[in-house]
Each structure stands twice: as structure tokens, then as C-alpha cells.
Amino acid sequence: MSKKLIIFLTLLIPVLTGIAVFVTPELSQKVGIAPPETVYKQSDETSNIEKPCSNEHPDWRPAQLIDGVAIEEAPSCEPDNPYNVAASVKGTNNVSMATLMQTDLSDDALIMGDDLDNDGDPDVIHIKLEVIELNGSSPDGDFLINTYDIGPGIQPGLWVFAPKSRGMALKNFNSMVANPLLRAPSPTIRVEQGDKVYITLENTHYLPHTIHLHGVDHPWQTSKGEDNDGMEEHPVFPGENHVYEIQPRHSGTMFYHCHVQTAQHFMMGLSGMFVVEENQPNNWVQTFNIGAGQVRHPSVAVKKAYSQEYDLFYQAIDKKLAQIIQGANDPRLIAKRMSRDYNMTESFENYFLLNGHSFPYTLRDSVIVAADKENIKLRIVNAQRSSVALHFHGHKATVTAYDGVDQPAGLQLTRDVFDIAPAQRIDLSLKTQNDGLNSYGPGLWMFHDHVATGTTTDGMEPGGNMAILAYKPLIDEQGMPKMHEEFLNEVFSKDYYGKKQAVWNTGDFAHLLGEAGLFAPDYLRIIVFGLATGLIIGLLVLITLVYKRKQQ
């Protein structure tokens, strides 16, 4: 090879480098006259879009009488199973086999015993609770088992206390979905003041747990001298059971939770509402309110003063904590990652739930349905790590009790934001009197935590614990809000909460506020850059080889 040619080729390298630098392709590009077009990215998978209401059990909605138990109307899309309500009122030992067969409760889940004070209701109550894992892992494949969606496509690992059940934990043979008894939150438990209550924790889970009866009148030790406070140092290990004994003298809205590795187990979902109802004659209370929400068989005292009663249970989930149980099957690994690797002081709350669901699922089973001139009792627990600032649109409610203790009349404040500390309970009286103070009139009024994170689902708005207080004429026969079809179709979507879809991708504004598309790649630039770079590499190799040969 001639010397001249080598010099030419060597000089060509800086020239090519200059070209390559000039035409370097870019990952993002400044716009010229024409920005990219709007992309209408609707999912190809129709399974990502859900029906707002599947209307599975319309027969569960009307008021009905089952085994002599009067069950109030529940107009929502997903009303509570009235057979569960009947069994929760009479006990699994007193309902008919036909009723029990309509539930997933075991025969010994709730045994109602003697009427000690001869006032027409049972006073010895045996309650059995199991510990259930939802959205757990399986060594048999890359899937979750006993799934429970808190919102469209959202399946964080959860633990709950559940009434003792029987049979299959899956809904059916062809699915991984948990049976409907197994859900968040842990059920509200209702007993009557003065009842002798025996709560058996049957630890069906693979880690130790306890039940601590927070705020419920209970002796520190059982009659046998065993632990009765559910503290960390008295864990109930897997496969074992323990009976907690109480005879509460004081009525009110209380709380229960696991007190083992409390910060983590509490946030995994092992907490629920515990209500002690006033002692009244012939007072058969609804022992389990599965999924919290509307109380379809309120107690005698509540019925005297109120038209309806709802239990509202607020909880939050840290997705990093929830993922731990989905990442391994060896209990030792899970225990290590949860107790020692995970650091609660560096945690976040990502999901916010009202009665086990985030918006829009709250519309299915946590709607408060009201008529004009009602007085509705709301019992509220904050089981989050952070405070709740509960706000009702269109209403000012009145707080009647804090932590299960009635407020004196002069201290029953009427407000539109209620600050609820973690583990705190408040009782509210919500009047639908259209007088400009209690209520501004009929509507589909939102109610939600006004702390900004509370209405988001992993940062996606609207989500979290947003729910509605709906006046009857404004909901359809399936319990869903009228006049909102387009909006509901948008948010009942896995893509919406997967953040794959523009927020205002509908109607006239779809073009104006839809997804901005991408620039088409500039292939001329890419080809020139590629060729120039390739040529530089080739020339370097060639020159090196020639140089070496000459040296020899």
C-alpha cells in the first residue's frame, strides 16, 4: 500500500469523526413547526377494561328475612352476602344448613351460647379467626395465588384475619381468585356489652401472630393465667391456637390487631374494627361485618337513634413491604426480609384503601346510599400509618365519640374535616337534612381523606380511598352512580392504573389532551452516522495492521 494512500486514509478519520458527531442520532428531539400527532393508545387487550359493575348477585340487594334475621337493603353494586349476615347474627350453630351452605363459613366459626341475663339474646359468644394470605407466592409458577384485587390490576400481598372458613380457599377450580370470604379488611367484629366473648386465633399462617384488643375492655390475663393482651412476647405460632377472653363493660368503637412485629404485620393488613354495642334486650348483633361497610343488621341501640349504620375502615399499604411475600416461598427468607431487611422508617404508603378497596372499586361496595332527612351512624377507624383528614363533600357531620367514648353534648363538634390519628376511632352522625349546614342537598357527594396522598393509587389520581355518598335517585338499579358512564369506563381499567393511558383521552378533548406521540426516527441521519462510525473503526483496524506489517 502506497504511503500516500495511508496518509489519505489517516486524514480521513478526523473528517469522518466530524461527520459522525454532526449527525449523531438523538433519543429526544426539539420540535420544529409540527409537533408529533396525538396517539389514541387504547389497550389491545380488552381484558384490561372492566365492567364497572358485574352485577353478580342482584338478589342480595333487597331487604330480606333469612332464618328469621331481618337484613336491611343494600343497593350497592356488590352488596354483602345476606347469608353471611344471617350466620353472623344467629351464629353458625343456629342457622339452617341451607343458609350455612350459602356461605364459606365453617360450622364452628361462630357459636352462640347461653342467654346469661335472660334478655332474649345470646351472651356467650365463641368466635374463631384464621390468618389468611392474599396475593401470595407459589413455588409452582410465576403467578400469585388467592388473588384479591384492591383496584383494577392491583394485587399487593396482604394478610387478613378472616372468620374460620371451610372448603376451598379459591373461588373455583379454574381460577386463582380467593373465595369471597377471604378479603381485606379483616372483618369488623361486633359483640354486645357484657357478653362473655371467647376469640380463638387459629394461626393458619406460616409466621407467628397475635390478637391485641386495642381499646376493648379485657383483663391482662385469661382465667387460666395465660396471655390475654396479644403482646409480642406471647406469639401464637403456626399451627397453634390461642383463646382470648373478654367481657367488655364499656361500649364503643374499638380496634384489634396483630402485635407481633407490629409495624409490619399491622401494615400487611392484620387489623380490624371491634365494636362493643350497648346492652339492650333482644339485641342480636351482627358479629362479623365481612369487608366492613354497611351494617345490614344494626343493633337495637343504633336502630333507635339512626336510620343506617356503616363501618369505614381506612388502611394503607407500602408496596415494597407487600412485595416481600411475593418474592420467596421459604418462610425463613420471608421472615428475614420482612423483619430485618425491610426498614419501616424508610417506608412509604403507596395504596390507600377504604374497606379493602381503592377507587374505583370503592364505588362497588363502599358507597353510602342515603335518602333525604336521614341520620346515618358512621364508625371510622384509621389503620393507616399516617393520619387521615376525612372530608365529606356537601355535608358537615358531627362527631359523637372518640376512641369509643361518647363526647359530652357540648363537645360534639360539627365539621367538614375530621383529623383521625393512626389507630384512632371516631363515631360520626351524618344528617342528610337539606338545610345548608348538615347537607347541601341531594348529590353524588365524594368523601375521602384530604391528605393529598390519600386519593391516589401509587400516585395515580383519582384512586385511594375516594368513595361516594350517593342520594338514592342518583344511583342506578345496580347501585352505580348515574351520569358518569364515560368516566367510569375510563377508570375501570388496568391500563389507567398501570399509567399506560392518558388521563383525558376521551370525548372532544381526546385530541387536545391525549397522549403526545413520538417523533419518527430520522433514518437518513441514522444511516449516515452508522456508515461513518463503521468506516472509522474499519480504517483504524486497517492502519494498525499495515503499520504492524511494515515494522516487521
Binding site: 353458625t92 350453630n93 343456629n94 342457622v95 339452617s96 344448613m97 341451607a98 343458609t99 350455612l100 351452605m101 350459602q102 365453617s106 360450622d107 364452628d108 384464621e130 389468611i132 394470605e133 392474599l134 401470595g136 407466592s137 407459589s138 413455588p139 409452582d140 409458577g141 410465576d142 395465588i145 388467592n146 374460620k164 371451610r166 372448603g167 376451598m168 380457599a169 379459591l170 377450580f173 380467593a178 377471604l182 387459629e202 394461626n203 393458619t204 399462617h205 406460616y206 405460632f237 403456626p238 399451627g239 397453634e240 391456637n241 420467596a328 416461598n329 421459604d330 418462610p331 425463613r332 427468607l333
Partner: protein
């Protein structure tokens, strides 16, 4: 399943208080537990007669997981072998204070509704029930279906005529499909062994050249 149970109950006209034991061909249920789809006399279509009578004791509980690492619940055995058309008389014992089940899946639906044989004990105790297996060479899944019980070790297999392979994640028998990941115990010694081997490997060509 519920509809089926209801139908059988309605047919028998025995709807009454739940505490009374309910019995029927397909199921027996009381406050201690339940038996579903037991079969001690109906032969599968492919079996002219019962080939053998096998008595099997199966224990369930936490203590049976002690012989494995990284499990919490288990049966006392993980595999049973029977001949085609065998009649298996199971005594199922729950050694824990919680609920456990013994479910066998994949059986013929005309004898075992939904292909399932199911024993359940609500706490410590014992149940006895029989089933007759068909002649097909097959491996049946045996497990407890409570949330996370199979996943944490309560899984076994019943092999008829030697079975048609092993099911995954049976403790002590087969590998999981989705395996847990554990760290390897690297110490100074391990690092030293590695470095020495690297040096030795590098020395091999030098040694060979010198001797040529």
C-alpha cells in the same frame, strides 16, 4: 360444589340445624370437619374389580415439616404408590390445632364430582374415608388447599401404577418451578481457593513450554 351439596340436601329433605351431622353419598359434615366424595364401593368404569385394599395413614401438621428445610406445613409422607383399581382406605390425622385438608385432584368426575376427593379437619382429630382409583397410570396431586399451606410444603403425590411423572415442588422429591434464591457462603477460604486455582491455571502453559 355448593349447588350440588344443596341439591343433595334438598333431595334428602334434611335441612335443619347445622350442628347436626349431615350425611349423604357424596358428603358428610359436622362441627369437626367434613368428608366429600368418599367412595368405598362404586368401581371406576375401567376396573372390573378392586385389585388391592390399601390402608394408608396420613398425618398432617407443622411437625412433619421439621425434616425439610424452608417449609412450614407438611404431610408425614410425600408419596404413596398403589396398583391400578386399588381401594385406598385413608385415615387422615390432623396433628395441629388449626384446620387442615387432604384433597386429591384429577379423579374421574362421574365418581368424584369436580374430580376431587376431599377430607377436612377443623382442628386436631381424625377422619376415615375410602376411594377407588381408576386403572390409568397417573400421578394425582394430594394437598391442603388452605391459603399458603401447599405453597409452604403441604403437598404430596399419589401414584397409580407407578404414576406418570413427579409433580413439581413436592418436599424432598421434586424441584420447584419458581425457585427461591439463596446466597452462597463465600468466605476468605473460598476466595483463596479461587485465586490459587487461577494461578495454577496460568502456570500450566509455562510449565508445558519449559518441558518441551
Amino acid at each position: 360444589m355448593k349447588r350440588l351439596l344443596m341439591l343433595s340436601l334438598l333431595m334428602l329433605g334434611v335441612i335443619g340445624p347445622a350442628s347436626a351431622a349431615m350425611s349423604h353419598d357424596g358428603m358428610l359434615m359436622d362441627e369437626k370437619g367434613m368428608i366429600m366424595n368418599a367412595n368405598s364401593d362404586r368401581l371406576p368404569a375401567d376396573c372390573p374389580k378392586i385389585s388391592e385394599n390399601v390402608d394408608i395413614n396420613i398425618h398432617a401438621g407443622r411437625k412433619h415439616a421439621l425434616k425439610f428445610n424452608g417449609k412450614m406445613f407438611a404431610f408425614d409422607q410425600q408419596e404413596w404408590n398403589v396398583k391400578p383399581c386399588a381401594k385406598i382406605n385413608i385415615t387422615f390425622t390432623n396433628d395441629d390445632q388449626i384446620r387442615h385438608q387432604l384433597m386429591i385432584h384429577g379423579l374421574p368426575g362421574y365418581l368424584y364430582p369436580q374430580g376431587m376427593f376431599h377430607l377436612e379437619l377443623y382442628g386436631a382429630g381424625e377422619l376415615k374415608a375410602s376411594l377407588i382409583v381408576p386403572s390409568t397410570k397417573k400421578t394425582y396431586l394430594v394437598h391442603c388447599e388452605l391459603t399458603q399451606h401447599m405453597e409452604k410444603g403441604m403437598k404430596a403425590q399419589l401414584k397409580v401404577d407407578g404414576g406418570d411423572g413427579d409433580l413439581p415442588s413436592i418436599p424432598g422429591i421434586s424441584k420447584p418451578v419458581k425457585a427461591d434464591v439463596y446466597e452462597v457462603d463465600w468466605s476468605q477460604m473460598t476466595v483463596a481457593v479461587l485465586l490459587i486455582c487461577v494461578l495454577l491455571g496460568a502456570a500450566v502453559p509455562l510449565f508445558v513450554m519449559r518441558n518441551k
